[in-house]
């Protein structure tokens, strides 16, 4: 009897210990699950480490307004980052970035691999800048064909606005200095490499061009759309204005990419800022500042832009080949 009582008592304690163990288990599980979930959350939230540092952006005056605005926006989001944006021209920007003087070099043109052979020089296209032809006072013409522009600026066949249907007024072409990348773009995409003849300006500044054209009767020049104002008249090329639609559709060829060159892609701050340049807020800002966002550019239409110039070359190509190329683009 005694032993039996002892046994039952012993059994009772055993049972209670089992029950307590049972009640612990679910709590243990819940804790495990919570830990797992927390660690999972932590893994996804580690990316938002606060950035800090100093960035120097040097280069293109055409891109400077956008770069400055983007820098301001970026510094609002990251208070510990200081970005300094300077002008100086595309070539100065490329020089500065290749000589490690600046972190980012803004440029309107491509870096020639022969001039800048550094293999780490990385191109970042941030937006498209449209250019437009402008005319001074007394010019009633609203549109010129590309050949007419070539004849005015290069061959000299057209010297009076009368020849293109305007008033009897001598044409004064305003030519930018050699260092101007806008001039290089103009030569490449409008003049197809031909030399310019006209009033050569001393300084390469869009505002100088604008003011000169505005004060010279019968003058014709070209500038970035961002510096266009009411003092000059914008001139269409082949009947197409420099609008986003026309450029994106490939009907207007006088435009260029805006590049931000860096040396390598290792710096987190630089790549963060460059990625920021492509984010919707900055791209919308670019649109507001008369740039064209890169998203708006359609690859298949880019292929068509060269049709005007390419058609000259394709005359010597077999027709089947050009058809194949065209099909490939579409």
């Amino acid at each position: 009897m005694n032993s039996r009582a002892f046994a039952s008592e012993h059994h009772g304690t055993y049972q209670s210990s089992v029950r307590s163990k049972c009640s612990y288990l679910p709590i243990l599980f819940i804790v495990c699950v919570l830990i797992g979930m927390l660690s999972g959350c932590a893994g996804s939230t580690t990316s938002s480490v606060d950035l800090s540092g100093h960035l120097l952006v040097v280069g293109s005056t055409a891109l400077q307004p956008l770069a400055s605005a983007a820098a301001t926006l970026y510094q609002k989001q990251h208070p510990n980052v200081h970005i300094e944006v300077n002008g100086g021209g595309s070539l100065a920007g490329l020089q500065a970035v290749t000589s490690h003087k600046s972190d980012i070099g803004n440029s309107d043109v491509y870096a020639d691999p022969a001039v800048y052979p550094d293999p780490n020089l990385t191109d970042h296209i941030v937006c498209v800048i449209p250019f437009t032809m402008i005319t001074g006072p007394g010019v009633t013409i609203t549109s010129l064909t590309r050949q007419q522009i070539i004849d005015i600026f290069s061959t000299g066949k057209i010297r009076n606005w009368e020849q293109v249907g305007g008033k009897n007024l001598p044409i004064v072409p305003v030519v930018r200095p050699n260092s101007s990348v806008t001039r290089a773009t103009f030569r490449k995409y409008i003049l197809e490499g031909r030399d310019e003849n006209g009033v050569l300006l001393k300084t390469d500044s869009s505002t100088t061009v604008r003011d000169t054209v505005a004060h010279t009767p019968g003058a014709i020049g070209y500038l970035a759309l961002s510096v266009l104002d009411a003092s000059v008249h914008a001139l269409a090329i082949d009947g197409k204005q420099a609008t986003q639609e026309n450029i994106a559709a490939g009907n207007y060829t006088f435009w260029g990419y805006e590049h931000m060159y860096t040396l390598g892609d290792d710096n987190i701050l630089i790549s963060s800022f460059l990625n920021f340049m492509l984010t919707p807020p900055v791209q919308q800002l670019a649109q507001k500042l008369s740039y064209i966002p890169v998203d708006a550019m359609k690859l298949s239409q880019i292929g068509l832009t060269g049709r005007g110039t390419g058609s000259l070359a394709l005359t010597s190509f077999p027709v089947a080949e050009s058809e194949g190329i065209r099909r490939a683009f579409s």
Binding site: C22, L25, F29, C32, V33, G36, M37, S39, G40, G43, S47, V109, Y110, A111, D112, P113, A114, V115, P119, T122, D123, H124, I125, A184, R187, K188, Y189, E192, G193, R194, D195, Y257, D265, N275, L278, T279, V294, D295, M297, L299, I302, G303, T305, G306, T309, G310, L312, A313, L314, T315, S316, F317, E321, I325, A328, F329
Partner: protein, 643 residues
């Protein structure tokens, strides 16, 4: 310990008083319905199911993780392969561009020679055109097929590493490469045209102002594209690491969930076993502590349910046995009491009692008692009848003898007259005197016989009956003791089953005592019979002597009466002869009665002897079994004793 879950179920067979509220039981059953599917499975199957489920969960987890890993690996691999392929082709394209530039310069140089070979110029032109076609194919092929926008899974992979912007970047870079290439191609075509047209100076100038810069632009744009592809590889690595991390978390969470699921399955399965076993143990413990009405709630159809049901059935059976024993005990006690009161009545003198006969041991005893009492009653009745008959006869004889004596007294004066008148017949007178004396002797003898008869009817018989009563009382006493012992036994049986053997032994002892009493009864009866036999013999002897005396008297009277033609003596002679003949017939009647009595007594003796003999084997059997067959009354007692 006495958990409220112990539900008591109504027992259909036994006591309706213990019927418990049925709805409670039904409620428990209905509540336990949900787990029934699982509970219907046998334990082995349930355990197998549990193990299989656990294995399935583990296999699913491992399989899912493996598939995820394989998918991500294959995606990465295909991405890397694509990148390698495009890198190779774009690098080839870059060298083509450089070659084009060189070849154009070569063509210009060849054309600038004083005597330009037309064949060489054509070869140069064809080489440039071939290179142009090749590069154009590479670039258009790249744009048509290798861009990220054309590969949804690659875009998804980049999205995981948060590099979605690279898709747009690539498109933009490809656009720039295409644009620069188109410009360069236009310039190149112009240059070749000029060379072919002989405008060498123009061609050279164009090459310098347009061809080389645009070539540089195209090369730069292409290089940017190549560099971008290289950066893409780093992004893929990022994405892979992100994916690996997420896979790690998936693995951890998945293992934890699988562990929980497996433990839950185990808990569920073991819960169906342990809880019910505990319940069963609670019930058995409650029964152990005396709660005989505790029952297990039977849920499901597995082995535990079987065991629970059989435990319930066992408890029912035990309870039924218990009730049966109690009822038997009560019945035995009742019967014993009845028998005892019957015996008391019999011992008080009422032989008309007939005890109630049943199939139990007490019933057997009652049967035997009835038989004995019946026997005795019949014997007493017969003896009574005989004594009454004897009484009547003796009274008749007494009257007759008184009549005869009176007649003789009347005859005496007459004979004296005759003697005095007939003096000559002395001898005859003497003869008369002797006759008279003999007659007186006869009367005395008759009186003695009557006394004997009275003696026989009165004292001896009553004495014998009293002694038989004493024996019967002893038997009844023994029976009472036995009944009491049976009652005690029944109670003891209810208390503990172990003492049954002992009480059975006690029973046997009682029966043995009864057995010893029965011979004593027989001896008493024998003595009674012997006594009456002796009396009868005496009576017989007396009567025979009376008979001889009477016949002798008759003969003697017949001789002297013939010579004496006296009317009175003739009367005497007639009366005497009548009397003697009556005496003779009476003696004969008596003899018949006595014989009857003797035969009755003898039969009684034989039957009692048979009784004692027949009752022995059952008493020895008492030890071995208590069944009804062993206690069946001996065959002889059932035989009607009508002899």
């Amino acid at each position: 310990m006495r958990s409220p879950k112990l539900s008591t179920r109504p027992l259909a067979k036994t006591m309706s008083a213990q019927a418990q509220p049925v709805p409670a039981t039904l409620h428990i059953r209905s509540r336990a319905r949900r787990g029934n599917l699982l509970l219907d499975l046998p334990i082995g199957g349930r355990l197998t199911l549990g193990f299989l489920t656990a294995a399935l969960i583990a296999a699913l987890l491992v399989g899912t993780i493996g598939i995820l890993r394989a998918q991500s690996l294959s995606r990465q691999t295909s991405f890397y392969q694509n990148l390698l392929h495009t890198n190779t082709s774009l690098t080839t394209g870059a060298s083509f561009l450089q070659l084009m530039n060189t070849q154009t310069h070569l063509a210009l140089d060849h054309a600038a020679l004083p005597q330009p070979s037309q064949e060489t110029l054509t070869t140069d032109q064809n080489a440039v055109k071939g290179l142009t076609t090749r590069y154009d194919t590479i670039l258009t092929g790249y744009i048509a097929g290798d861009l990220l926008t054309k590969h949804v899974d690659e875009v998804a992979l980049l999205a995981e590493a948060d590099h979605t912007g690279q898709v747009t970047q690539q498109t933009t870079l490809a656009g720039s490469a295409l644009r620069t290439w188109q410009v360069y191609r236009g310039a190149q075509a112009q240059i070749l045209q000029d060379i072919a047209g002989g405008n060498l100076a123009v061609a050279q100038h164009l090459e310098q102002t347009q061809g080389e810069p645009t070539n540089a632009d195209a090369l730069s744009a292409l290089r940017a594209l190549i560099l971008f592809d290289q950066r893409l590889a780093a992004s893929v690595q990022d994405a892979a690491s992100v994916e690996e991390q997420s896979q790690l978390y998936t693995t951890i969470i998945g293992s934890v969930l699988a562990f929980i699921a497996i433990v839950l399955v185990g808990w569920l399965i073991s819960g169906t076993l342990v809880k019910r076993l505990k319940q069963l143990r609670n019930v058995t413990r409650a029964v152990e502590h005396g709660q005989l009405d505790a029952r297990v709630t039977v849920v499901g159809r597995d082995e535990i349910a079987d065991v629970s049901a059989s435990v319930n059935a066992m408890l029912e059976a035990i309870l039924g046995l218990f009730q049966q024993t109690r009822r038997q005990r009560d019945a035995l006690t009742n019967a014993a009491e009845h028998l005892f009161s019957d015996m008391r009545v019999v011992s008080a003198g009422d032989l008309s009692i007939n005890a109630v006969v049943s199939n139990d041991p007490i019933g057997m005893l009652a049967n035997a008692f009835n038989f004995t009492v019946g026997r005795f009653r019949r014997f007493v009745l017969r003896t009574q009848i005989i004594s009454e008959q004897l009484d009547v006869i003796s009274r008749q004889e007494l009257e007759r003898s008184e009549v005869f004596v009176r007649a003789l007294k009347n005859q005496r004066p007459a004979s004296r007259e005759a003697i005095s008148s007939i003096r000559d017949g002395r001898a005859s007178s003497g003869q008369l005197e002797t006759t008279e004396k003999e007659q007186a002797d006869l009367v005395a003898q008759i009186q003695r016989a009557r006394e004997h008869l009275q003696h026989l009817t009165d004292e001896g018989i009553t004495q014998q009956v009293r002694s038989v009563f004493a024996v019967a009382e002893q038997i009844s006493h023994t029976l009472r003791r036995m009944s009491r012992a049976l009652a005690v036994e029944a109670e003891a049986y209810s208390r503990s089953r172990t003492t049954t053997l002992e009480t059975t032994r006690l029973h046997v002892q009682e029966v043995r005592a009864l057995e010893t009493l029965l011979p004593r009864l027989a001896v008493e009866l024998q003595r009674l019979q012997q006594h009456s036999l002796q009396e009868c013999r005496e009576l017989d002897a007396e009567l025979s002597s009376i008979a001889t005396t009477t016949s002798a008297l008759k003969l003697r009277e017949a001789q002297p009466l013939e010579p004496l033609p006296n009317p009175s003596s003739q009367d005497i002679a007639r009366l005497g002869s009548e009397f003697s003949s009556e005496i003779a017939t009476m003696a004969g009647q008596l003899a018949v009665l006595v014989r009857e009595m003797r035969t009755g007594i003898v039969a009684f003796q034989v039957e009692t002897a048979n009784n004692t003999l027949a009752e022995k084997p059952p008493s020895s059997n008492m030890l071995s079994m208590e069944g009804e067959s062993a206690l069946r009354p001996p065959a002889i007692t059932t035989r009607p004793a009508n002899r």
